[in-house]
């Protein structure tokens, strides 16, 4: 029995409710595995529905790029946050889709 809306759209809708969600939390809510959520999220980033805020190549403003211009970058005490944590957020296109 197919759902009313497709899985990626359901993911976007969960995100539009706000807050911070871990991959496993989303996986639980969608009834799929963690890796499937990660895959979908990557796909949604590629398609412009989500954007990486820090880490990743698209961090542009928020992540590594911001740090690279900073003389204190080495002193930044949370390297996980700076370099590795993929923080993904809805783009305006993603928000539109979730509405």
């Amino acid at each position: 029995m197919a759902e009313e809306v497709s899985l990626p759209v359901r993911l976007l809708r969960l995100l539009s409710a706000g807050g911070i969600l871990s991959t496993s939390e989303l996986a639980q809510k969608l009834g799929v595995s963690d890796s499937l959520v990660s895959m979908m999220a990557e796909d949604l980033v590629r398609r412009g529905y989500l954007a990486a805020l820090s880490g990743g190549d698209e961090c542009g403003a928020g992540g590594r790029a911001a740090c690279s211009g900073c003389s204190l970058a080495a002193a930044c005490s949370v390297p996980a946050v700076r370099d590795r944590l993929p923080l993904l957020a809805l783009t305006s296109r993603g928000r539109q889709m979730a509405a």
Partner: protein, 703 residues
Amino acid sequence: MAIPLRIPVRRPDREARLNQPKLHLVQPSCHDSGPQIDPAPDALTIALVGQPNVGKSTVFNMLTGLNQHVGNWPGKTVEQKTGVFDHQGSTINLVDLPGTYSLSANSEEERIARDYLITERPDVAIVVVNAAALERSLYLVAEMLALDAPLVVGLNMCDVAEQHGIHVEAHVLAAALAVPVVRLVAARNEGVRELVAAALQVAADPASFRPNRPSIRAEHQPVLDQLVSLLGDCACDPYRPDWSALKLLEGDVEVTQQIRASAPPELWKEIHEILMQHEDAYLDIAGGRYEWIGRMVRAAVIQPRVGAVTLTDRIDSIATHPIMGLVLLLGIFGLAFALTYALAAPFSEWLSGVVLGGLTSLAQGLLAGAPALLSGLVIDGLIAGAGTVLTFLPILAVFFALLGVLEDVGYLARGAYVMDRFMHLMGLHGKSFLPLFLGFGCNVPAVMGARILEERRARLLTILLAPLVPCTARLAVLAFLAPAFFGASAAPVTLGLVALNLVILAAVGIIVNKAAFKGEQTAFIMELPLYHVPNARTVGLYVWTNTMSFLKKAGTLILLASGVVWALSNLPGGDVETSILATAGRALAPVGSLMGITDWRMLVALISSFFAKENTIATLGVLFGAPEAGATLATQVAAVMAPGARLAFLAVAMLFIPCLATVVTIKQETGSWKWTAASIGLLLVISYGAGVLIYQAFRLLGM
């Protein structure tokens, strides 16, 4: 049983295809190596498909042995491997396609693989999948099923999967896919011949290949049919119309470009209009694949038993719990502060007593004949100021080591997750979380982090939040003074002050949220890493880079500021009590008295923190002079203030106006002096307000 050697039935258009431009199986070039292996002309061709590092090449080598040819794909730098092998008397051509995650033309490899599959049409494809990453592998299978070639699946790396507690049942997967699945241990050549046998069986009777394909949503079927008929009417489609139509609807860049270039303009206009109306069709098409993958995985993967939930899951049931997680976070940080104090205090004392004392006597000896001005500057200015800041080193090293371990174990990400969810519950906007993420080390990246906000108003307001994040420099000042101020209660007091800082951040954040985002919400996805044993090298490197950068700052900015403070405390007459600094400090005394801080030196120390937060300590070092025997700078400072005033002083130090580097960044990012002034003003009000409230509350309680 012999597999009949014949030209496969699925080649009705073989002649037509021969006339089309296509990739050639073997095209000798000067880069070719190895013996020339010609493909057997009438033999079956099997294509090997799979992700990189899935064991595909091992299968290829097992089968072809020396009968292989390694060259490049025509016109590409990607390696092409073709070979010939015998299976039960029949000769078979084998083509090892480049490793790909999908057939979406995201890379050269993916383009080559899909072009080959579509234009060369192998008789059958063997898809090697990784049991430990079944979802990703199945995406490729889902895309393969949209093509002509029948396929069989080789389930490899089951051993790796078992190590992760994932058990994939090959026969159940086969039933769910309606595709033959053979369990492989490619490295030990187990299952390889069976896989070939299964592939040849499918190739022999392609009509019986009726896999369970991902479905397309009903609402998109008419669109797809319309596109197929449009493409079918023109000769502009280099691929098959149904496949091209699907890729057009998916927004595949390459297929779109190809058809746009070769289609008559009117036709393209028509196609383009349809595509514009279904811009988001990709989500449904990919969604169909994801749902299909979800079904396959649910069917074929045996979930770990409840008792055997992974360690990460078990820890996370507490560590990411909304309430317990927060309690744990507070506990862990409280413990980290307590450990820092316990471990670093003896070293700090040794540094300040033996090393700093030694340095002072050494300088006194060396500068005995020098003018008083020079010895004063060096001994009372630079050594007492910047030197005292250096006694932070053990505190910082221990703190960074603990933080590094927490980070490398994977806990810090959970801490951020719990903290941010708490902030969300308090009504803070998702995008304002970012300063918290980036600002914990230093406020400068936090201010820059606000760039992610497209709307100027939201960006400006978020920048206001950034300096409220407690940075390491301020934590160091706190860590230096708290033990002398509060003795055994230092750790809980420190934790309380950090918590106060975060609560104020949340409170301001809520106001900002109301003003800037009008209650609109957005969320983040955060991938929490698995817990693992920390790596000594990683932690060591982390401590090293952080302490080095601290030393650099102490040797430059803080050294300079110490000199300036010393000069100002000696001008004009050479007496501290009648100096410019003392006069200015005393003028501020009425302001300070509301917070119980009447000593002008404390007020000057606070103000000097504008240049760098560590300057608070450097200035106190200069102004209080060398500590008497049995005392340290911190105990001397504690002596001039009542407990309420001490707490007020620390609270103000934590919340005081941003440091110079942050202010410069704020000006640069906002492009406005008005906002920069607003940021400074806001923090001035907040810090002063907090100081006054704390002191007056203590006074009312009679403490």
